[in-house]
Amino acid sequence: MNWFETITMHSPALIVAVPLLAGFLTPLVSRINDTVRNLFVLIMLSITGILIAILGYDVLTNGIRTYVFGGGNTVITLPSGLMFHVRIIFEVDSMNIFMVIITIILAIIGIVYSLSFMKKEDGLDKYYTIVLILVTSTLGMELTGDLFNFFVFLEISCITSCALIAFWVHKGEALEAALKYIVISSIAALFFLFALGLLYAQYNALNMATIANAIQFSIIDQAALILIIAALTMKAGLVPMHMWLPDSYGEAPPSITFILIAATQAGLYGAFRVIFTLYGNVFNSINLAYVNLVITANTIGWVLVALAIITIIIGVFMALIQTDFKRLIGFTAVAEIGYIFLGIGVRLASKYVQYSGSSATAIAFSEYSSIALNGSIFHIINDCLDIGLLFLVAGAIYYATKETSLDKMGGLARNMKYTTVFFIIGLLAVSGMPPFNGFASKLMLYESTYQLNPIITIIAVLASILLLAVFVKVFYSAFMGPEQQKFKEVKEVPKGMLIAMGAVVVIIIIFGLFPNLVINNIVQPAADALTNYTTYISKVIPGVI
């Protein structure tokens, strides 16, 4: 076994362990001086990125890779033929790789941005420590194959994000947003723990594949499903519990918001994993035993569609009336989350139609359900990049003018040329205009939704157009208009921030020009990994199905 093979084998553990080690070391390293600390953080994250690249290449070519913490067998078989897991297992398939790539890109860009954005603040050693732990927790949530481990990382993410949202402690709103966030997400995490207990009582297992293999979909399992979905949608910001999202996105430092987006998407990933893998044999295959129940793919799908539509509408209309730049983008982020859940809902509902309809409709709906899933997954990365870019631009404006209220801005395009260009690209991408990435994923969502119900599509398209209107308004009030006296001395932001925004813009343009490249190489494998839940199970429980 050569060294490269060894690194690949251990990379699932190292991807989590390296940033964690860096987080533990940062308080000690920052005693030396600030430059060393900044370099240390960047280098550690780059090492993580390299490990992710190695693992990603391996998973995309050779299939699922597992890692057992503590070694030994993956699975213990009793003489009676029972198979189960004792140790914690990381199981990495294409979907995990997809999420992890997003997270590390966002983390590195966010760190580069904060190197110049946060330069003048105090308490930066704690700041970088907590950022590293936040990145760790997000990566851990996205790699783990164990339910309780997922809960632990969920709580880490909750605590660290809360602390970072409250970074500007002198602002009352930031404290309130942080408190609101931690109250909601700790209740969500406790619901998750309760559901986990229900599943544990049924199957005496905590490993996702083991539970997915054994799941009976009894009434207790349905209760657990509802609790888990409620918890994860709370974490992701779907409508009944969306209020924390614009608050905390708006009040946190923009560099943090950029990384928080990745943490929110990890909650979304959890919803994907639970619906399509943990309950895969209910929602992902033909199982006539579950057709007559109350909770079927149909009901869950339509509930998600309804919630997603409400989320989109609320997000867009609340964004219309905001005057604070960052809060406005926060509400846009709510709407984008709605689009992702729309994809999941459409997928579930049309999958149901596929099994209950005639053969001709079955083929059509099978195609559309997979388009919906692809669009939904593709929209995750587009949402991260577009919303993230807008937040970075808002941060740049705040850095230059110390202003977030739209009413007081104006004429900034004269002095901040690069930022203006970046903002235009961001607004076109987020509202789904053709040459940019938002268009590709939204088109896929519209296409699949239209088959299910045209009204939903019309609402989604209208919301997208309204989003464009919102941002055009922002563009005029912030960048256009007469030059204001107080902004005469405003300069372009430092190079570090421009590099970070430029990197996001480059990725957005590449994704927009070559969407097929992305879809074929990472989105389609991710969707396949979710669909083939039996492969996921049989990797850790050999010989099943």
């Binding site: 309780f148 632990v152 709580e155 909750c158 605590i159 809360c162 602390a163 409250a166 402690v169 009352g172 709103e173 404290l175 309130e176 947003a177 942080a178 408190l179 609101k180 931690i182 109250v183 700790s186 209740i187 406790l190 723990l193 309760f194 207990g197 544990y200 009582a201 905590l206 209020m243 608050d247 009040e251």
Partner: protein, 121 residues
């Protein structure tokens, strides 16, 4: 049904906590509510692991007759380990929430949710 009393207690604790979180206006009471929910969930996990007549799964203090027919006579250890983790998590969350509340009190001079801007909804 009478054997379900521990689970009823769990549900009651979760409700008391939820009631405090949803209807109380004082921030400290909200935090107490979360703490109660958490105790309820911890109790739930512990309760799941109980085996009728079982002893604690530690061989140092187990009577020898119990230890000899080991798995059947001991309660399940995994829920206890999970609870342990969950308790420490609870402590951490509590510390962070309380320090935030201290700052909020310094900032606004009150703990009433209605007096604040963002937390109102």
């Amino acid at each position: 049904m009478i054997f379900n009393i521990p689970f009823i207690a769990v549900v009651a604790m979760i409700f008391i906590g939820l009631y405090a979180v949803l209807f109380k206006r004082n921030l400290v009471k909200i935090v107490i509510g979360i703490s109660i929910i958490e105790s309820g969930v911890n109790l739930f996990l512990i309760t799941l692991g109980y085996r009728e007549g079982g002893v604690v799964p530690i061989f140092t203090s187990a009577p020898s007759d119990v230890a000899s027919n080991a798995p059947g006579s001991m309660v399940l250890p995994v829920p206890q380990a999970l609870t342990l983790t969950s308790i420490v998590i609870g402590v951490a969350v509590l510390a962070l929430m309380l320090s935030l509340i201290m700052h909020i009190y310094r900032h606004y001079g009150t703990l009433d949710v209605r007096k604040m801007r963002r937390l109102k909804e």
